[in-house]
Amino acid sequence: MWQSLPELGTGIVYAILLAAAYTFAVALAAGRGRPRLLQAARYGAYSTSGLVLFAVLLLSYAFVSHDFRIRYVAHYSDRRMSTAYLLTALWGGQDGSLLWWSLLLSGYVAACVAWLKGRYRELQPYVIATLMVIVAFFAVIMLFAANPFETSIAGARPDGEGLNPLLQNYWMIIHPPSLYMGFVGCSVPFAFCVAALVTRRLDNEWVIAVRKWMLFAFLFLSIGNVLGMRWAYEELGWGGYWAWDPVENAACLPWFTAAAYVHSTMIQERRPMLRVWNVFLICLTFFLTIFGTFLTRAGIITSVHSFAQSSIGTYFVYFMGLILGTSLGLMVWRLPELKSKGQIEAVASREAMFVANNWALLGGMTFILVSTMYPKISELWGESATVGPPHFNRWMGPIGLVIFALMGMAPLFGWRKTSGQSIKKAFRAPLIAAGVTVALHLALGKYLGYPFLVARDAFYPGVVGVILQKVGSTLPGITIALCGFNVAVIVQEFVRGVNARRAAADKRREPESGLLSLFRLVEKNRRRYGGYIVHLGIVSMFVGFTGTAWNIDRETAMVPGDHYRIGEYDLTYEGSRRCPGNPKCSPEEQADIEKMMIFADLKVTRAGKEMGYVHPAKFIYQSSPDGPTTEVAMLTTLHEDLYTVVGQIDPQSKRATFQLHVNPLVSWIWMGLLILMSGCIVSLFPELSLAEAGAWSYLRASAGVAAGTGFAVWMAMTASTAYSHTRPPKAPPSAHLASLPPTPQLPVSGLGTAGVVGLGLGSVVAFGRRRKDDAKSPRD
């Protein structure tokens, strides 16, 4: 069976299953009183990860050597594709993406085993065993339902079918891996949770062990979701970024529970409370990641993301049953030990706020879950209901605002109980800020194009509809006011911290400057202030989400020379051109052999000032001539995006139809992601000091963080070159070349992969601190 590459590949998948089973058995033996076997289990886990890596490399080889005997390769690539896209095709389809998923999982396994080295000896065997079960599950699916190495019955073809043009986009290269990183990352906390339940070590031990892993997963869930929005925004061409598509919903569900856990864990670390709750949240988060994958893969609900129908759904159902059974069984078994030993003493305490916020997050999650599943649920009683975006938008607005308000209020309360006096003191400045924001918004909003009240239609008949309508029309104003409140809270927290530090320093007669104090404050309480920075990122995102209330959407048809006015923009349609062929096309466009491109050139002026050109287009790929793709063209500012899409272009008269959108404040969402990422990095930065850990560990940690930060900066920088790979630079017809600098042709996909790998490696390095870093002095 080893005589050809496809057979070798299948053999390796068998080997993954065997190695995982072996490791599972040895790990269990190590857990049952034979501790010296742990080393064997650890090596076993490493070699399982190695085997997955080997399988991925084999498949990559099949792609770059155009081995069309393999069905997956023939289906998702062709000979014209560049190497970068050939490698993207690894996760472009069902079978390969499961292998890719396994690769990320085994990356986590290797990182976790390396990090565990000498610590948590009692938990370690069960952590490894749990992770191996998950690896084995994916190996089973690959073997029996979605083997990426399966050969075509008809034999090798001369050429493949090529990758779906929708997937040949820069954000497509990078958003699934980030999202998978987040999804897969939830396995490690789950493994620790199971280990703690099995070993009865239900103290703070596992909670502390899990903390950074969960934060890491949360970070990547956020990145993946926002990058997914960006992909939808730039590639799908309907003018928005979030359509409440079932798969989008599935991707954001674990984000809610992860966010809830990150907060409730802080309570358990301080007081013996909420233990059942935390175990429940971790299990639920992991369950939702598998459930989300199931929704995407099994195709039970139609969505833009759906892969081809296949039989893997059944396997997922069994696995979900296993997860539910195991976690519920363990929880019930250990319930006596999980019982809370403390209780919330006052409503005016941070614990109470956190619990409220947890409930709100979970409520939002449940709402999305039920609404997403409703079409399927309603089939049970023979109805076939559809649930559209308006339904989600109506309800999620208020729910989101409750979460947002609680997020602002929680930091103002102290632990256990807060006196009325200090609450008054803490709320004063933020409330004033919110009031000032409302006043400014009422006074200036109309002139800036962001009025306080936005009229809405009644969506439901009856009282509920009227209430929702009234609430809906005030939402933009309330959101902006809450943004003011939240920012004031965060600023106040920083100011109070800095003041306290400076006062203490003055007392010691070692005065500190404000900046130095700020730096040391954050450095000494990274988790807390990192968290506040994350909150700031969320505020920025909420500003962006609110922007949709003031969207302007228009449709029009124009012949060359026509003008159209939308918002403050004046658009002049100068005609269409077909590339390659038209003399006005740029050299890159002329040289493109993959596709035919039809551009519509629109000149944009705003308040009399020339802003340059936008070129919405239709691309017709040779690999799929029947389905032309819509290429969006945008003019982005911090204030708003001008978003243009061309519908049909008549080849003779050049008459074209356009969908035009002005989307205010969308950039704030992407900006919010960058702030959120930097906040997470601040929180995740390994805690060690030069003197204790030795220069080497410090260097390793810094390298890890540098890789992470580099990734963030790189993402920010390349945002503007997002089109460079699939689209030629937006060069205007020759005369205007000087007005817009051509976008540099970065090898973005290579950089993307390098960035993700770099961040992964960096974090492995950063997490893999030596033991001595942990033996820290009590004063730290």
Partner: protein, 217 residues
């Protein structure tokens, strides 16, 4: 032991480096396909090595590594708990400094956390006492060996133990009941920072407070 360690580290760094160089060279000469193949070959070698190591460990043939031996002795759970309690104390200080917790509550919780921290530190110390003695014995023996003189201490190691353990290294903390909510404390002579009444060392500069107490009394 040292040689083996050195060899391991060389292999650990040299092997990936060689793989990388091989991959890049083959890529430059023969194209991207060979890069992937080289990497795959390296991965296969690594897998074989790892599986071999695993089977060796399973058969009980591998030597006990230092890390492994060390981790047998460590009680990570208590170590982690200690860190959590110390962190909680630090947070409490912070909350007091920004005025989020009342003075009364602060003293109550601080006392509780400090009692817990003391209990944990003491447990850890007790647990490690035996090992510490062993290490000190070994250290003395080696020091004596290194200085060339015959080792008189190795004959009766017990007698040297007391002198070897200074108060700085193993603070023997008696499990005292924590004093409740007494705002006054013990001022450090060196830096004038107020410390709790049951403190033995200053929390700011680390100077022993016991001397201060003794000389004062």
């Amino acid at each position: 032991m040292n040689k083996r360690f050195l060899r391991m580290s060389v292999v650990r760094w040299a092997a990936p480096l060689l793989t990388l160089i091989a991959a890049i060279t083959s890529g430059a000469l023969f194209g991207v396909q060979l890069v992937v193949l080289t990497l795959a070959a390296a991965a296969l070698l690594l897998i074989i090595f790892l599986l071999w190591s695993s089977v060796q460990a399973l058969a009980g043939e591998s030597e006990l590594t230092f890390e492994e031996a060390f981790s047998f002795g460590a009680r990570s759970a208590e170590e982690e708990q200690k860190r959590a309690v110390l962190r909680a104390l630090k947070d409490l200080e912070y909350e007091r400094s920004v005025g989020k917790i009342s003075e009364e509550d602060y003293h109550e919780y601080a006392a509780r956390y400090r009692a817990e921290a003391k209990r944990l530190i003491q447990n850890l110390n007790e647990h490690l006492a035996e090992q510490r003695q062993q290490v000190e014995r070994e250290l003395e023996r080696r020091l004596a060996k290194a200085s060339g003189t015959p080792a008189p201490v190795s004959a009766e190691p017990e007698s040297t133990l007391g002198s070897a353990r200074g108060p700085e290294e193993t603070p023997e903390i008696e499990p005292k009941e924590p004093e409740k909510s007494q705002p006054s404390g013990l001022a450090c002579r060196q830096c004038q920072v107020q410390n709790e009444l049951d403190a033995r060392f200053c929390k700011a500069c680390g100077k022993s407070l016991l001397e201060a107490e003794e000389s004062a009394s």
